[in-house]
Each structure stands twice: as C-alpha cells, then as structure tokens.
C-alpha cells in the first residue's frame, strides 16, 4: 500500500515539449485515482515518470515518504499494465504471469503457486498453457492485470488498459477492475481519455490539460461543478450547454432572453459582466408554451438515448441540448428552462468558475477553444 506525492514534477522532452508542467499531486493510500484529459495532455508521460520509465526533468516523485525520483523502475515496487498489454509473445500465460516473480528470485514452486493464484483470481485457470496470440483481447487484458498483481506491488499504474476492447467488453472489464481494486486495496493510478471510464472508476480524479491539472476532485464534483470551461466541455457523455451571456440588473441576458442568476453565483457577479452560462442537458426541461426564465427555440434533432431522448433545440442563434422523456417532431416550438441548482457561470475571459481564483498564464487565453469545438459537435 502506498501514498504517492508529486512535487512540482516537470518532464520536458528533448524536442522541447513540456509534457508535464510543474505538477503537484497527492494520491492517498488505497485510492483509485484517475488521470483524465484530451490526447497529448501528458497523461502517459506522467504515468511513465511515476514508473521511472521517463526521467523527471525537475521535481520529485515520492512514494511512501521515500524520494524515488532517481530510482530505476524495478526498485519502485510498481505493477504496470500497458496499453498494448506488452505480454511476452513467446511465453505461455503462466510464464508471463510468473516472469516478474522469476526476476525477483522467487523459487519455482512458489512462483507457480502465486501465478496460479493470480490467474485463478481473474478466471484464467483454463488458459495457463496458452500463448498470448491465442487469447481474445479481454483475456489478454486479464493476463496483463494478473501479471501486475501476482507479485503484489504497492502501486498499480494503468495506461488506458481498456482502450483496445470493444464497447461491451469495456464496461464489463471496468466493473471487474473496480471490484478487484476494492478487494486488494492497492493504490491505483489509472490513465484514460474516456471520461465515462474515469467517472465510473475513480475515487478521485484529475483533469489535465497541457501538462497541468485543471481540476482535482471526486468524480461527482467534477461532473456537477466543473471548475472551468475546459473541464465543463470535456466531461459528460452529452456535451454541456454553454451559452454566452451578460449580467444585466441581477439577471442574465442570453441573446435577448432573460434568465435569473443561479443562486450560488449571484453574489460573485455584477452588472455588465460577460459570462458563460452552463447547464447539463439532464437538467434542462422543455415546455410547449411560454414560461418565465426560458429560452425559446425549435427542435432541430431528436436522438434516442434508450429510455429518453436527447433533443437539440435551436433559436436566436443559440443551440441547446435537453434530455426529454418524449421525442418532439422537428420544428416544434419549445421553451427551455434550466434547473437553477445545477446551473454554473463561468467568466468569459479566463474560463474560470465565477467566484473561483482567476486562472493566470496561457491557459486563460485558450479557455475558449474547447467550447468552440463542443459547440460544433
């Protein structure tokens, strides 16, 4: 079991790319911690730096109060599952699982026992004599996990272990991983760019952008109160509604319509502030006649989600999404209201949540970029 502390960790590649930028992070003992972020934000680099496969440029990696920054990977007592699983193609499943034990000079009988235990844990008992090439993707993934748990390391590192699986298997494997981690209670750092995976698995998660942590919180918090436009547009399987607004006389002006200020935010804004109004489609309600505090529009697209529909509503230059129990024919005039308790306001200039400290530096400049992308989806 282990606590991981990162102190202003920086990794700059020889080409000049700063993949991890002065990162501070504390991961508690036994925690399932997810690193989430768009492609190229430095998740893999961070994980590999913790493992010791990349040397930190500056800063420290501390595991259980011991500075391991300069230790080789093998001395850090870490189990790692790679994105391509990295199973040795010339060894049987049994030998694959036992190889780290062999390196650690566990004697042969004990080794076989421990490998069989780990394999049994993951329902691989029947497959011990097979080669990796003779296994399905899901089985390979389980062998990779078995190899990492068999030698009982104090820390697990996973780099997108489910990304090679098809959608259905991925959900199964996800549940399985979460249960396994809860049972053995080993601290786990899990990298993914799939936000639903992070939300489903993590006790706590960090959303990264350009080598920095943009939000560090529980999945619930990240989902309900994204602290910046970047996180807001990144999290959620249905993109959040993000609408440009202006504060006018204690209310919001959105393309000429009036909406009351969300109660949490009211005290942080003054008349004339330019803000972005955010609310998830789940918290939007459609009305078929004019009501107060609503934005008017016409249904443009209706998508079936399962037991409900995702409706896209367009009007006065705005685009909104709402989840509704019933589909409505295209062109229907509707009035959209938003549940006040679940509405957020962001500053338009730096993208931060109103009332939160301002974001300085270059991130503020591109806080707009992801929102534009989200609007186009």
């Amino acid at each position: 079991m282990a606590r991981v502390t990162l102190r202003s960790l920086t990794k700059r590649y020889p080409g000049g790319v700063t993949a991890v930028d002065a990162l501070d992070l504390e991961i508690a003992d036994g925690e399932f911690f997810a690193l989430l972020g768009p492609s190229g934000c430095g998740k893999t680099t961070l994980l590999r730096t913790i493992a010791g496969l990349e040397a930190a440029t500056t800063g420290q990696v501390i595991i259980d109060d011991v500075d391991v920054t300069r230790l080789p990977p093998g001395d850090r007592d870490i189990g790692m599952v790679f994105q391509d699983y990295a199973l040795y193609p010339h060894m049987t499943v049994q030998d694959n699982i036992a190889y780290p034990l062999k390196v650690r000079k566990v004697n042969k009988d004990e080794r076989r026992g421990m490998a069989a235990d780990a394999a049994g844990n993951l329902q691989l008992g029947e497959l011990l004599e097979r080669r990796p090439g003779q296994l399905s993707g899901g089985q390979q993934q389980r062998v990779a996990v078995a190899r990492a748990i068999a030698y009982q390391p104090r820390l697990f590192l996973f780099d997108e272990p489910l990304s090679n699986l098809d959608a259905q298997l991925r959900v199964e494997a996800r549940t399985f991983l979460k249960r396994l981690q809860a049972e053995i209670g080993v601290t786990t750092v899990y990298v993914t760019h799939d936000q639903s995976e992070a939300l489903a698995l993590a006790d706590r998660m960090a959303v990264m952008q350009r080598g920095r942590v943009r939000q560090l919180a529980t999945p619930e918090e990240v989902y309900r109160r994204p602290n910046s436009l970047f996180v807001a547009s990144f999290i959620g399987s249905m993109p959040m509604n993000l609408l440009d607004a202006e504060v006018v006389d204690g209310a919001l002006d959105i393309a000429g319509s009036r909406l009351s200020l969300p109660p949490d935010s009211a005290e942080h804004v003054t008349s004339g502030d330019r803000v972005v109004f955010g609310s998830r489609p789940e918290f939007a309600t459609l009305h078929d006649e004019p009501v107060d505090n609503a934005l008017e529009g016409q249904v443009a697209v209706a998508e079936l989600l399962g037991n409900s529909y995702l409706l896209t509503v367009e009007g006065s230059g705005l685009q909104m999404r709402a989840v509704a129990a019933e589909a409505a024919p295209n062109g229907t005039r509707v009035w959209v209201t938003f549940d006040e308790a679940n509405c957020l306001l962001y500053r338009r200039d730096d993208g931060g949540l109103v009332g939160s400290p301002r974001v300085e530096g270059d991130e503020a400049v591109d806080a707009d970029a992801p929102r534009v992308a989200a609007a186009r989806q």
């Binding site: 010791g52 093998g74 790679f82 699983y85 990295a86 193609p89 390196v103 090439g133």
Partner: protein, 287 residues
C-alpha cells in the same frame, strides 16, 4: 449489325492468335531458363554416383566408388572440419556481436545513426571483397594472424557484420518497446531483459542471420585462400580448387563426389533451422 460483327471478328481472332503466341513464347522461355538453372543441380545429383562422370548430366551408371575415393584423399575430412570450424566460429561471432549492436542502435537514439549504418553496409562489400585483399593481407600479417583460422574468422565476420546489424536492427525495431519496459518495471536488469525477452522475440531474425553467415562462410573461397598457407588448415572450398589443378585437368569423379558432400551440410542445416525455429514471426498482440 452483321456488318459491324464481321468487321470486328478478324481483329478479334488476330488478337487471340497473338496472345496464344505470346503465351507459348513465355513458357518456352521459362522452360529454357529453368533447365539452364536446373542442369548444374541435376549434375550435382547424378555425377557423384556415376562410374564415369563427365560434364554432362544424365542417368548415372550407379556406384559409390567416387565417395570411397574421396574419403581416401587425406585432405577431404580435415577440410570439411575446417569449413565447419570457420563457419561456426564466424556465425557465433556475427550473431552475438550483431545482435548486441543492433539492439543498442535500435534503442538508443544516436545522431547520424542511419547514415552510420548505410556507410558501414557500403564498406562491408569492400572489406571482404577483392579490392581490399592486399591491405587485408598486410594487416593480418602485421598482427600475426596469418595462416590461422582466427584471422580468417575476424575478416569474414568484419565483412558480414554490417549486413547482419542492418537486418537485425529491423527485427529489433519491430518489437514494441513496451515488452522491455514491462520487464524493467518488473525489476529485470538490461541483460536479463535481453536474454529473456528480446532474444526470444527476435529469434527468427537471429536464425536468419546464423544460417546466412554459415552459408556465406561455407562458400567463401578468396579469403581463406589468401590468408591460409597450410593445406591442413584449408576449408573445403579451397581444397576443391586443388582437386581441379592437381593433374592439370579436372578430376571429375573426385570433384563431383566432393561437391555433393560439400553441399549436404548447408541443405541439412537449412531444413533443421527452418523446422526448429521457422523463418517467421510469432503471432503477436495488436500493435
């Protein structure tokens, strides 16, 4: 309608005749080429068992006498043994050194690495070629390795290494670095990783290089001919040359039987390696 059909038909038949003729010409040529290349093989299979071998290939007047006479020659067995020693020693040297070099070159990013490889490859043709014979002779003479197997092995290995490195580096490049990384995370040292992971994974590549080296050395005439004085040390290729000149005329019974013996090990080795290791890759994981 009919007029148009009649107008088209002669053109069509001309085209058919033309394509048939082309095809016949093609097969005749393939046949001639095939026979041309097959004849020496047939001769090699037939002549050794012929009571009176000539330069023509034909059904032999069956006998084992030629082989009996070959084995009576005092140089035959030692020469085959010499060939074996040279081939195996060079093979071990080339495979080991080329594997280590290729691994390092594949995993460490040196500036100018590819240029270095191409230049080496280019010069390797010179090293074991005719052009460098005099300097090579002098070099080996100066360091006191003239008339030793060691000298021959070093020169041959030097000539074969660059191509070996080149081919093996390709094999190494195509094995994912994550195999080694996962071994490193598990605590394996660099040599353990090389021995347990890298070598087994690139084994088909090593087998290719090993067989190729043996065949090259086995068939090489010039270098042992120049660097070895003592007939006792000469490999098969050089000894065969002496059969040819002995009486001022080719000793066909001896040469044919000897050639047969000379080619058997190479064929056997190829079959063995192909069966044992297979010139193929292991079915891998999604790359």
């Amino acid at each position: 309608m009919t007029a148009a059909g009649a107008a088209v038909a002669p053109g069509n038949s001309r085209r058919v005749v033309k394509s048939v003729l082309t095809r016949i010409g093609f097969y005749v040529m393939v046949l001639l080429l095939g026979v041309f290349f097959a004849l020496p093989m047939l001769w090699l299979l037939a002549a050794p068992f012929d009571r009176t071998p000539t330069l023509a290939a034909g059904v032999p007047d069956f006998t084992f006498d030629n082989f009996v006479r070959v084995f009576e020659n005092p140089f035959v067995l030692p020469s085959l043994r010499n060939s074996l020693i040279l081939a195996l020693a060079t093979m071990v040297l080339v495979v080991t050194a080329a594997a280590l070099c290729a691994y390092a070159l594949s995993r460490v990013h040196l500036p100018g690495r590819d240029i270095l490889l191409y230049v080496l490859l280019l010069f390797s043709a010179v090293v074991s070629g005719t052009a460098a014979m005099v300097p090579l002779f002098l070099l080996i003479f100066e360091i006191g390795l003239i008339n030793t197997h060691t000298g021959v092995v070093l020169v041959l290995a030097g000539g074969l290494m660059p191509a070996g490195i080149f081919i093996l580096k390709d094999f190494m490049d195509s094995t994912p670095a994550s195999y080694e990384e996962s071994a490193r995370v598990a605590g394996a040292s660099a040599l353990q990783t090389l021995r347990d992971i890298v070598v087994p994974v690139v084994r088909p590549g090593l087998a290719v290089i090993a067989v190729w080296t043996v065949v090259q050395v086995w068939g090489d005439f010039l270098i042992p001919f120049i660097l070895l004085r003592d007939p006792e040390l000469a490999p098969a290729a050089v000894v065969m040359f002496n059969f040819y000149t002995e009486g001022g005329q080719a000793n066909l019974p001896l040469i044919s039987a000897y050639s047969f013996l000379y080619s058997v090990p190479v064929v056997v080795m190829y079959l063995f390696v192909n069966r044992r290791y297979g010139f193929r890759f292991y079915g891998g994981i999604k790359r």
